[in-house]
Amino acid sequence: MNRNKKSGIIGIIITVIILVILVVFTNSNVNQVSFVENIFNVLVMPVQNGFTYLKNKISGNDSYFADMDTLKQENEELKQKNSELEQSLRELEIIKAENETLKEYVNLKDKYADYNTIPADVINRDISNYSSTVVINVGTDDGIKEGMTVIADSGLVGHIVSATSNTAKVQTIVDTASAVTSTISTTDDTIVVQGTLDDKTALKATFIPTDAVVLQGDSVETSGIGGIYPKGIHIGTIREVVNTNNITDRYAIVDTAVDFTKLNTVLVITNSVDE
């Protein structure tokens, strides 16, 4: 009896260990692997650098007796090039400053300045593996209504599906039941982005026009068609275009601008598309 109890406890401990290993391994990402790689690098690199220095010293002995005049001439040329590069650098810095100013002009806050928004915090997340909804801490008492658009600093989050007096349920764009008509900002082609079961950080873009040129890195925005989402809200960028035998079936994977795993604060747009 005592032996059975003992082996039972051992079994539970082993199961817990297996579970922890499974969780750690399946959730580890490349950065963590790189961390281990970095440790090895720190240990190995000084030795490797020492050997490389020695090798260079030995193999470069013949150049030690190079002509002094040639070196002087080279030095002058390099000084000249250096001053030219310094000039270019100053010009680039001016361009960079201009670029920063332009970026500010197209900043998302400016972009969404036309909308009346209510800030809210995410207070509850979906507990299912098959859907993706969140609950926010504003409701009908704050003027929240069904169908209102929800955004975050970086882009579109979803829309309100139901509201109580002080909470509202938001169906996110990564939910499998969500489909948003959107446009590729560079070409203005209309596509439909839908949530998938595979990845809660990406969307599947379908109904891509056959003549559309879709490139990796293209930005995707809401089209304003459909009556729920206003036009021009950033959704994400195209990660990959998957070509199929039939061009009408091709689709693209869109990385969402919003990180739904770290979504804590949102803005609810209270004026409708037409207003």
Partner: protein
């Protein structure tokens, strides 16, 4: 005295549900296997159905499921119906199989998880405009079932102890243990 015990037991079950809900919506959102969470509610309702009988299993299954649907679900009623079915099935499983065997409990958990998730997914496919992703669904379902099994193995001694306490309160008849 017995009625008072029953009331206290039901209150404790409700408290347990909220503890499980807290774990599911916090701890298990990051303690995942390949980004897949377990479904503790299935384990809990099956446990209630097995040890307290179909009445309480069905009622608590429907109430808790309905609560989940209202608070965070996409459709009202799906979780209520599915958890109700599992609560109801608990007693039938108890009559036909032994709860004393770890293997039987694990098989019951596998069956209940599959029934709950497949039922919910089919219901979603019918009522919502979603794409059918059989492979992805099966992958998630497999990991979720495995996760539920691992949790069941870990908490099995607790299930047994608390289960027998509940059985003493709720089941008046002495049920002979039948081995699978």
């Amino acid at each position: 005295m017995r009625d008072l015990k029953k009331v206290i037991a039901v209150i404790l079950l409700i408290v347990s549900f909220f503890i499980i809900y807290f774990l599911q919506s916090n701890f298990f959102t990051w303690f995942t296997i390949s980004k897949v969470q377990p479904n503790l509610f299935v384990i809990f309702i099956l446990f209630v159905g097995l040890f307290t009988g179909k009445k309480l299993g069905l009622i608590l299954g429907i109430i808790f499921g309905f609560y989940l649907d209202v608070v965070i679900g996409r459709q009202i009623g799906v979780s209520g119906i599915m958890l109700g079915i599992i609560g109801l099935a608990g007693e039938y499983l108890d009559k036909n199989f032994s709860k004393e065997s770890k293997i039987t409990i694990i098989l019951m958990i596998i069956g209940s998880t599959l029934i709950y998730e497949i039922g919910s997914y089919v219901f979603s496919l019918i009522t919502l405009d979603i794409n059918i992703e059989i492979l992805s669904f099966m992958k998630i379902l497999f990991i979720e079932t495995l996760y539920n099994v691992i949790i069941t193995i870990i908490i099995y001694p607790l299930i047994q102890k608390l289960g027998h306490l509940l059985e003493e309160i709720f089941k008046t008849r002495n049920i002979l243990t039948r081995y699978f």
